[in-house]
């Protein structure tokens, strides 16, 4: 009993560690990228949109900000699409490979 209990704790701990790392990257990383996108958008719009934090006075608009915002939102969109494909694929008993940037669905090994 105690041996099996120990096994459960050890195995759960191993799985948990991976869950934590993956979740930090996707669950905290992507929202941070999203926030950067919103900041870029505000920076691109200029005017009173951004003040304080950057240490610079409110400035006029900057097209670089808009481009940057689009790129950052695309990164987030990619993350969400990958997540959706992941839900669908694992529901269908398939594995999913992120080795080719575009998520690839493969038969579960």
């Amino acid at each position: 009993m105690s041996g099996a209990f120990g096994d459960d704790v050890r195995l759960a701990g191993e799985a948990l560690w991976k869950v934590l790392v993956a979740s930090l990257v996707l669950g905290a990383g992507l929202p941070a990228v999203f926030a950067l996108g919103i900041r870029s958008l505000a920076w691109g719009a200029g005017g009173e949109a951004v003040d304080g934090g950057t240490g610079t006075a409110a400035s006029s608009g900057n097209p670089v900000g808009k481009v940057l915002a689009v790129i950052l939102f695309l990164v987030v969109a990619y993350g969400i699409v990958a997540g959706l494909v992941f839900v669908i694929a694992s529901g269908q008993g398939k594995d999913i490979s992120f080795g080719h940037i575009i998520p690839t669905i493969t038969a579960k090994s």
């Binding site: 099996a4 799985a15 948990l16 979740s23 905290a28 941070a32 926030a35 505000a42």
Partner: protein, 406 residues
């Protein structure tokens, strides 16, 4: 109609009833934060969540026949044919499943009445454990795993219950902290609209994941009952009508909206702003998806609650109502034993009368209890109209049976 067929029909109806309570009990997991911040109107939020749950339920074609096996030794998963796989006689199994489901439903409805977001999976497992102990004794319960993967009551229930809210809280707290660092000084017109969109997206993802995870538990239970009565023989597929009815039941439950629980999660625990909502739902989605991929069983309720607490801790100056969190914690601790007691009592009651009559008696008791709890809830109704009212004003309501939520 034979006694066995009658019991089977009652098991199927009760299982769909459980699936329905599972739906409304967990609407808040995905949608509470979006409703609280006003990113979505309450009715729209539950409608989106219901659709995503329906879609999610259909996407989950993986066979969850072994779902009961996590806690009850009913099924030999190494067997090649369905009839060989059962380790207990079919009628014994039916009695356990029916009593267990009733235990789960009763606890789900009671916690809903109290506005407590407790785990529907724990309620189901608790009911099954209680019925199994009453029927087969302590050794009928799968307490620990076999050393190859986290399994049994310890590996599939107790450890995840402790660990998953902590992980979700850590992720949500980190996300919240990062977001607020990044958006310092950005005008509210950018942050408000941007993060509201983010909330809608992440909440939908959580709903979808919920549909795939939770609906298949009921699908597994019903299919197991069909196997127990010799009406289904495949171990690698489930009947289409089972999938359809479970998907519709969980979506309908979601659409009804467990407003009492939505209110506790969205308003009671932490006052939530849009960026926190994004952080919380992202964390929930990531933890649920990563866990299901890595075979780490967990409850979406525990994850969602951990995420919301975490986002309260991650924002400097945000207030977390620890009293509410404490009540929820007590609810979580009680879920397994309380549902187990109901499950065991139901099994004992049914056993007095034999399978067929016993099933009818159990079902009648369930109907009476559920009816009473529902009537009780009408005294202090919570719905789309008042789900977002200030938390403090309702806690002082003299009509509130427990002196807190709803």
């Amino acid at each position: 109609m034979s006694a066995e067929t009658l019991t089977l029909v009652l098991v199927v109806v009760t299982a769909l009833g459980f699936d329905f309570t599972n739906g409304f009990h967990d609407t808040g997991n995905a949608m509470a934060t979006s409703i609280a911040t006003g990113a979505l109107k309450p009715r729209v939020a539950v409608a989106i969540s219901a659709v995503m749950n329906l879609v999610g339920a259909f996407l989950s074609v993986s066979v969850a026949l072994t779902v009961t096996n996590a806690v009850v030794k009913t099924f030999d998963s190494s067997a090649t044919s369905a009839t060989d796989a059962l380790t207990v006689p079919g009628d014994v199994l039916l009695a356990i499943v029916l009593a267990g489901l009733i235990g789960g439903i009763v606890w789900n409805m009671l916690t809903w009445l109290l506005g407590l977001p407790s785990s529907s999976s724990h309620a189901l497992f608790g009911g099954l454990i209680g019925a199994t102990i009453a029927s087969l004794g302590w050794n009928g319960v799968n307490w620990v795993g076999d050393g190859t993967q986290p399994d049994g009551v310890v590996g599939k229930i107790l450890l995840p219950a402790v660990a998953s809210p902590l992980v979700a809280g850590l992720v949500a707290g980190t996300g919240t902290w990062l977001i607020y660092r990044i958006i310092v000084g950005v005008a509210a017109r950018f942050t408000e609209s941007g993060f509201r969109w983010g909330q809608v997206g992440t909440a939908s993802l959580v709903s979808l994941a919920h549909g795939t995870n939770d609906a298949q538990k009921t699908m597994g239970v019903i299919t197991l009952a069909l196997i127990a009565t010799g009406r289904w023989t495949s171990l690698t597929s489930i009947p289409f009508w089972v999938k359809l009815s479970c998907a519709v039941a969980i979506a309908a439950g979601t659409y009804i909206g467990g407003w009492r629980i939505i209110r506790t999660l969205g308003k009671g625990l932490v006052e939530i702003e849009s960026p926190q909502g994004v952080a919380a739902e992202s964390a929930s989605a990531a933890v649920i998806l990563a866990s299901s991929h890595l075979g780490f069983a967990l409850s979406t309720t525990h994850v969602a609650t951990g995420s919301i607490l975490g986002t309260g801790l991650g924002k400097p100056g945000a207030e977390v109502r620890w009293g509410v969190a404490g009540r929820m914690g007590v609810g979580w601790l009680l879920t397994l034993p309380a549902a187990a007691i109901v499950g065991a009592a139901m099994w004992g009651l049914g056993n007095l009368f034999g399978l067929a009559v016993g099933s009818i008696v159990e079902f009648a008791v369930l109907a009476v209890v559920a009816g009473y709890l529902f009537t009780r809830s009408r005294r202090t109704p919570v719905g789309a109209h008042n789900v977002n009212d200030e938390w403090e004003s309702t806690t002082a309501s003299p009509n509130t049976p427990t002196g807190a939520a709803v």
